[in-house]
Amino acid sequence: MKLSTKSRYALEGMLYIAVYGKDKLLSIKEIAAGTTVSPAYMEQIFFTLKKAGLVSTVRGAKGGFALGCPENEITVGTILRAIDGNLVPVPCAASLSACKSKVRSNCVSRNVWIRISQAISDTADKQTLEMLKNQFIQEGEGAENENIH
């Protein structure tokens, strides 16, 4: 039951902007280097994120990417859904009509898939980019202090 690498890279790119893009716009090259993802692939991912309104671009010499909405309004779930469409491991959990089985109206297992989907969404929809950013910075400071002492 794996998430696409594309959606994982998308979250990495978004967190990178939230952490390092505070004072300046970041280019795809910088984001790709910071996340060790190929620039061409990151560009494709950011094209999708831009269409979803999650990032915005500024043209020009000092141009680049910035978050498209406030970081406390962007959740992990929003980013994953923008890339993968939905967060359900079995299509029927999102819509019963996605199931072509003759016995779908008496399905014995759909409830299990719905509960698994809820467990995934509950976590993904609770975590905002702001929370992750603060936690990431805090962890980094902790690690730096350890090095000093």
């Binding site: 910071g34 996340t35 993968d84 003759k102 898939w113 976590t123």
Partner: protein, 143 residues
């Protein structure tokens, strides 16, 4: 993020077996008919379930399969890991950058933990009980 047909059909077959195992064993032909699943595919799925010790096969004219343990001792976690392998939402890949390992620990592992809680905390007997409850509440809604 997808669960394969093997995982989806296999769980359906296990629930069907649990529902219909009160009177001895159930033939795959019956499960195939009730669940609208191909017999060939069920045979291949049941060879995995049998090897994993979740079902036992009984040979003969009246033969078929039954659960190897009581339904309240078989968790969804056992069934799904036999059918799907790891239920984790991610594999480790690429260089372990700071951001990647941070997200592994703080996002993906948390999702895995919550999914595993559902899977380990639910037995086949619980699934049957939930079906009964929703059937009863469905009946009441018509009153």
């Amino acid at each position: 993020m997808k669960i394969s047909t093997k995982g989806r059909y296999g769980l359906r077959a296990m629930i069907d077996l649990a529902i219909n195992s009160s009177e001895g064993c159930t033939s795959l032909a019956d499960i195939s008919h009730r669940q609208d699943l191909s017999l060939n595919y069920l045979e291949s799925i049941f060879s995995y379930l049998k090897r994993a010790g979740l079902v036992v096969g009984i040979a003969g004219a009246q033969g078929g399969y039954m659960l190897a343990k009581p339904a309240d001792e078989i968790t969804l976690y056992e069934i799904m890991t036999v059918l799907e392998g790891s239920m984790s939402v991610y594999d480790s890949f690429g260089e372990e950058t700071k951001i990647r390992s941070f997200l592994n620990r703080n996002v993906w592992d948390v999702i895995d933990k919550n999914v595993n809680e559902v899977l380990t905390g639910t037995t086949l007997a619980d699934v049957l009980k939930n079906m009964e409850t929703s059937r009863l509440s469905g009946d009441c809604s018509g009153l």
